[in-house]
């Protein structure tokens, strides 16, 4: 294994979550125009 033998073990609890808010995968479609009655 490339990273070698274990040395120690940690518990890490980030105050700020490392996952960013998800970015939309594509821009939302333009709203369809409703024909005027």
């Amino acid at each position: 294994v490339e990273i070698g033998k274990p040395r120690r073990i940690y518990r890490i609890e980030p105050l700020e979550h490392p996952v960013p808010e998800r970015i939309p995968e594509k821009a939302p479609d333009e709203p369809k125009k409703v024909p005027a009655k």
Binding site: V1, E2, I3, G4, K5, P6, R7, R8, I9, Y10, R11, I12, E13, P14, L15, E16, P18, V19, P20, E21, R22, I23, E25
Partner: protein, 169 residues
């Protein structure tokens, strides 16, 4: 009463991903395991030691959380030199390799040249100049496709084989 954590910020280390493209969507995949990294949520480690058959047989026994010290499991990351050894390899069943820094948290086993973690998410992605497929997919399309992870994606002005030297400078 639960024990206090050792750190309140994630560790950051380097790794290489292969870029996989399915239905026009680009994703990061692990180089060694067949794991696709989800966008917008943390990758959580599970013990994959021993291959599929071994895992099927082991389901009857108690499974352990990953990582633990006396196993090989966990999400791997290390120094730039360690990551660089994978970057130059021709990616198997993938568009290309990219490098990056990854945030590690949860349970983290520190090893001689890197880490094995329970939770991870990309922190920065570097796209080599030769990423993509010749004549079909350029590095810029790969970079744009990986923006869905919501982290900085930057070009590296060097091919994958030289990318670690470029980033270390």
């Amino acid at each position: 009463v639960s024990e206090a954590p050792d750190f309140l910020e994630p560790l950051e280390a380097w790794r290489v991903w292969k870029v996989v493209r399915r239905d026009g969507v680009y994703s990061l995949g692990s180089v060694v395991q067949r794991t696709v990294w989800p966008a917008g949520e943390a990758l959580v480690a599970e013990c994959l030691a021993g291959g599929r058959l071994s895992r099927l047989l082991r389901r009857r026994k108690a499974r352990h959380d990953a990582p633990v010290v006396d196993c090989q499991c966990g999400i791997y990351a290390g120094g730039l030199d360690v990551a660089g050894r994978y970057a130059a390899d021709t990616p198997f069943s993938a568009v290309s390799h990219v490098l990056g820094q990854v945030a590690l948290w949860g349970t983290v086993v520190e090893c001689e040249r890197g880490y094995r973690a329970s939770h991870a998410y990309p922190a920065r992605i570097y796209v080599p100049a030769d990423a993509g497929e010749q004549w079909r997919i350029g590095w810029d399309e790969v970079a744009l496709g990986l923006c869905r992870y919501g982290v900085p994606v930057e070009p590296v002005g060097a091919p994958a084989a030289d990318a670690t030297r470029f980033l270390a400078a």
